[in-house]
């Protein structure tokens, strides 16, 4: 569904992607992992034709109207309400406005439908951005750091949404530097370091290959157990 072959990208003298190749199957959650500055967002920008590559080829098995996008900058209209934000895109896609209401329900924002975006918390804005990305039920979804800077409960809510989307048949391409998130969510991952893919495969395969298993305390689970805070 998504493919990159030997893609190269330079910004001036600096090479930010050096021969990046990977393939993502239909209905799969694919995680591109790496630290800030590794080139993750550049890859999304190239795949979504917002940026031209300097070499190699890439393709998505879906047209622009079958693609959903959630970036680190949410691009929401801050003076408009949540519902109005979605209705702009419902109008552009030519889909019924009732789907905007449904999308807000899906991300747990139905009570905030009439609130201006500028009054929302960061987590609520992230959920609204996700609702906009999936409003038209895209076949391919790009999510750039979808849970970056969010509290555990909101992040977990977004995880369950992503899994539901995958179960609904969507192919999900996400970037993250949160390894736990990638392990829990992704069917396959690629590890990106300084513009080079250093490893790829399923999270379990990669860990097995590198003998990287450990037991770690799960503070997130404790927090949710103690506070009972869940998105839904």
């Amino acid at each position: 569904m998504i493919r990159m072959d030997n893609v190269v990208k330079r910004f001036g003298e600096q090479t930010v992607l050096s021969g990046v190749s990977f393939a993502v199957g239909e209905g799969e959650i694919f995680g591109l992992l790496g630290p800030s500055g590794a080139g993750k967002t550049t890859i999304i920008n190239i795949l979504t034709n917002q940026l031209d590559a300097d070499g190699g080829s890439h393709s998505i098995g879906a047209g622009p109207l079958q693609t959903g996008l959630m970036l680190d900058e949410d691009g929401l209209y801050t003076r408009l309400s949540c519902l109005d934000n979605l209705n702009v895109f419902a109008g552009v896609y030519g889909i019924p406005r009732s789907l905007s209401v449904q999308a807000l329900k899906n991300v747990g924002l139905e009570d905030a439908a009439k609130k201006p975006v500028r009054t929302l918390s960061k987590g609520m804005r992230q959920r609204l951005a996700l609702a906009r990305a999936v409003l038209h039920r895209p076949k391919v979804l790009f999510l750039d750091e979808p849970t970056g800077g969010l509290d555990p409960a909101t992040a977990r809510g977004i995880h369950s949404l992503i899994l539901r989307l995958r179960d609904g048949g969507a192919t999900v391409f996400l970037t993250t530097h949160n390894m736990d998130e990638a392990y829990k969510l992704c069917d396959s991952v690629a590890l990106l370091h300084r513009g080079v893919i250093v490893e790829k495969g399923s999270p379990a395969e990669i860990c097995t290959r590198h003998g990287a298993f450990k037991t770690t305390p799960d503070l997130e689970a404790v927090f949710i157990k103690l506070t009972g805070v869940e998105l839904e």
């Binding site: 622009p64 109207l65 693609t67 691009g75 929401l76 209705n87 895109f89 552009v92 896609y93």
Partner: protein, 231 residues
């Protein structure tokens, strides 16, 4: 067409919630009304329409440049434009949607000015025609500035001198003949000439304004070709 409609509705709702922009569409008619009632009406040596024609020229020159450049620069800076483009919105659809709202708002304010000035019949049509052409010119200039600017701060920096020259130019020409000659090439000065004198000819002002529109359309095309509309 549906994208233009969606963006038009978005822009209209956004404008009504954007107080600084809304104020620009209200302040000039209010100022004209105050000056007409307090200064022009009691003084027989001042034409009743003097402040209407002056403030309508200032409005056409300033409010629409600031609002057009600000709207586009804001959408670029906040990256919302990127999501529209990704959703398949074509640049001309976006610009028609945003420009359409500003043109509608400019038309409504122009009608208010015309009623305030007591224009009727052919005078009303002449005033409105010149105002609408001037509004179109300012929207084109504002859109060019918005496209050429990386963010709202840059748009303000570029838009302020342009709006000052075009908005206050007609007022300066009342006191200086050299300024009158220089500013006569600008559409706001021709607007001021056409609407302040009911008997003034329309051919020259119309020709100059249409030439301004042609130059501004070329500038807009150039800016669009160089910068595009990617957020």
């Amino acid at each position: 067409m549906r994208s233009i409609r969606a963006i038009y509705v978005k822009q209209a709702k956004d404008m009504f919630k954007n107080i600084p922009v809304l104020v620009q569409f209200i302040i000039y008619p209010v100022m004209a009304l105050i000056f007409t009632v307090l200064v022009a009406k009691p003084d027989e040596t001042i034409a009743d329409t003097m402040f209407v024609s002056m403030f309508s020229s200032i409005f056409a020159g300033m409010a629409l440049i600031f609002s057009a450049s600000g709207a586009i620069a804001e959408d670029r800076e906040s990256k919302s434009l990127r999501f529209l483009v990704m959703a398949g919105v074509k640049p001309h659809e976006y610009l028609l949607g945003v420009g359409g709202v500003l043109f509608t708002a400019g038309s409504v304010v122009s009608v208010v000015f015309a009623l305030m000035g007591g224009y009727a019949g052919a005078g009303f049509a002449k005033f409105l025609g010149f105002m609408l052409l001037s509004c179109l010119s300012s929207i084109l200039l504002g859109a060019t500035i918005g496209i050429a600017s990386k963010n709202q701060q840059a748009a303000t920096a570029l838009g302020t001198p342009a709006a000052m020259i075009l908005g206050f130019g007609p007022m300066i020409t009342m006191f200086n003949d050299t300024a009158k000659k220089i500013f006569s090439v600008f559409y706001t000065q021709q607007l001021n000439i056409a609407v302040s004198d009911a008997h003034a000819g329309v051919i020259k002002p119309l020709g100059v304004i249409l030439a301004n529109i042609a130059v501004l359309a070329a500038l807009f095309a150039l800016a669009y070709k160089r910068k595009g509309l990617r957020g």
